[in-house]
């Protein structure tokens, strides 16, 4: 059967080509940076994001990332590292959202909408006053993990490790607060202080995610791994591990596909994460 053997040869040739390409990519420093940065961000998103989903605040990623746009625009204008100015805006934004909610000034969703509008509109004013959009600014809107430089990687690594350490230490307290805030308070857990700390970590996670998937898709990276893991109906420990695994899988896969086929990494990462979510839903409904 000559046709089959030809197609088998073709397939094997293709897989050889991809293996060679992957090995070649792994040799490049930019690709190593992208993988390392992507993995750290994915890990942080998986851990922080699961609690965000359980707190029913999934849209906070979208809101705070848009607010951070104001900070990025100012950073670029002033020549300061944009991640740092974005971080200031993001922290301010999450704390103000929490303040509006706890003081009864607005429900979560309305408070998020206000902060999104405030930050993004400020960003637009700064950008237009500075003479329009630059390539740099576009990379923050749509993400550009393959162009992450040493400074950005170092800042991302420090922030990610800091967030993961705090989450690791206080995860059971944060879980207790997420499940029942009043009960946690009566158990002597410092609910207000830990909630503020968690909000700061949410801001940090959102800011480091901007480089990977861009402002517009941050919410997806934050929410999809945890949401997919929840479909599996497991214990908390297994759900958390599944969230981490799925976040690492989709981000790494997305970075490889992006580099191999020269398509936008952010699009591929999030699209893969959506695909994984649909598979998890199907498994949750039919698989058991």
């Amino acid at each position: 059967m000559p046709s089959m053997s030809t197609s088998a040869k073709g397939l094997s040739g293709m897989s050889d080509f991809f293996i060679e390409e992957i090995i070649r990519l792994l040799g490049y420093q930019f690709f190593q940076y992208a993988l390392l940065g992507g993995a750290l961000v994915a890990l942080t998103c998986a851990v922080v994001g699961l609690l965000i989903v359980l707190r029913k605040e999934s849209m906070i990623g979208d809101s705070v990332a848009h607010t951070a746009f104001g900070g990025i625009a100012i950073g670029i204008l002033l020549g300061v590292e944009p991640i740092l100015t974005a971080l200031v805006f993001a922290v301010f934004s999450v704390l103000l959202i929490a303040y509006m909610r706890t003081r009864g000034l607005a429900h979560s969703d309305a408070a998020m909408a206000v902060m999104l509008a405030a930050g993004f509109s400020l960003g637009l004013i700064v950008v237009s006053a500075a003479g329009g959009f630059t390539v740099d600014l576009f990379s923050y809107l749509f993400g550009s993990i393959l162009t992450i430089d040493t400074t950005e990687l170092v800042i991302t690594a420090i922030l990610a490790i800091f967030s993961l350490a705090i989450m690791g230490i206080f995860y059971k307290e944060l879980l207790s607060i997420t499940f029942d805030e009043q009960a946690a308070r009566l158990n002597g857990i410092p609910v207000t202080a830990l909630s503020i700390a968690f909000n700061v970590l949410v801001a940090v996670t959102i800011v480091i995610s901007i480089k990977v998937v861009g402002i517009i898709l941050v919410a997806a990276l934050l929410v999809l791994p945890g949401l997919s893991a929840l479909q599996l109906d497991q214990s908390f420990r297994k759900t958390l591990l599944a969230s981490i695994f799925l976040a690492l899988l989709t981000t790494t896969l997305g970075i490889f596909i992006s580099a191999l086929f020269d398509v936008a990494a952010s699009g591929i990462i999030v699209f893969t994460a959506v695909g994984v979510f649909l598979l998890a839903v199907a498994y949750g409904r039919l698989g058991r």
Partner: protein
């Protein structure tokens, strides 16, 4: 008989919610190893009274002391466990097993940031065993029945060996047999460990059969020690109104009456 340690002492308490007095000039004392039932009509202030004992609600007037200490200065919340009326109304998809949930009872202000040790998990297993939910340990919390959820939350409350347990209507919507088993478990806890228990309950037979003190609340608070010759109906009329009838006979308790 030596004087028992006072666990809760309330003097002249008035609590206002939405500009109306919910509790007015209440006085009561709960002593160590008391098993207390709080009853009264809906909206009469039972939950308000319970939450006041935890210092959760602002009070307009009066003093509350816990374990002999003024409530404003009391910090030893580890000695107290509370199961809220709304505890069982959680998100059914919350990803936790029964054992993980009971384990959260070990998480408190005292061990902030510390990992749970093997001895903590041993205590979790003992607490589940005591409440008869060991076979449910690996089940997801959303899959439990109403009675099982309540037993899980009480197991979570007991895991820290509290000296005082407060339960707000733990058994609404649960069948009679489960109710009976539940109150029996609380009796065991009370008798074996001298744990002071306060339960808001609509089940008057359970209150008069199993408990040693009753507090009737309908804005005003009336409390009494339960003895075979207590005029239960007379006491309950003060809270439920003159038309209320409650005939209490010891033989209905089927031997559960604690003074029998």
């Amino acid at each position: 008989m030596s004087e028992q340690e006072k666990i809760i002492e309330i003097r002249n308490l008035t609590v206002t919610r939405s500009n109306s007095k919910v509790i007015e000039s209440a006085n009561l004392t709960v002593e160590k190893a008391d098993y207390v039932g709080i009853c009264g009509p809906n909206g009469g202030g039972k939950t308000t009274l319970l939450l006041s004992m935890l210092g959760v609600l602002p009070r307009q007037e009066g003093n509350i002391s816990l374990f002999g200490q003024d409530i404003d200065e009391f910090r030893d919340w580890n000695r107290i466990a509370f199961v809220s009326q709304n505890a069982i109304n959680f998100d059914l998809h919350f990803p936790m097993t029964v054992r993980e949930m009971v384990g959260l009872g070990k998480v408190s202000g005292r061990n902030l940031g510390r990992r749970l040790k093997q001895e903590d998990w041993d205590k979790v297993d003992q607490s589940m065993e005591f409440m008869g939910i060991t076979p449910l340990a690996d089940r997801r919390i959303g899959q439990l029945s109403g009675g099982e959820k309540q037993r899980m939350f009480v197991a979570k409350a007991l895991v820290r060996n509290p000296e005082l347990v407060l339960l707000d209507e733990p058994l609404s919507g649960v069948d009679a047999e489960t109710t009976e088993q539940f109150y029996k478990l609380l009796s065991n806890l009370n008798l074996k460990n001298d744990t002071t228990i306060i339960v808001v309950s609509h089940d008057l037979t359970a209150v008069f059969c199993r408990m040693n003190k009753v507090i009737c609340v309908n804005r005003h608070v009336h409390s009494a020690t339960i003895t075979p010759d207590l005029d239960a109906e007379g006491l309950l009329k003060k809270a439920y109104g003159e038309h209320f009838h409650f005939a209490f006979h010891e033989h209905e308790c089927k031997g559960a009456f604690r003074n029998v």
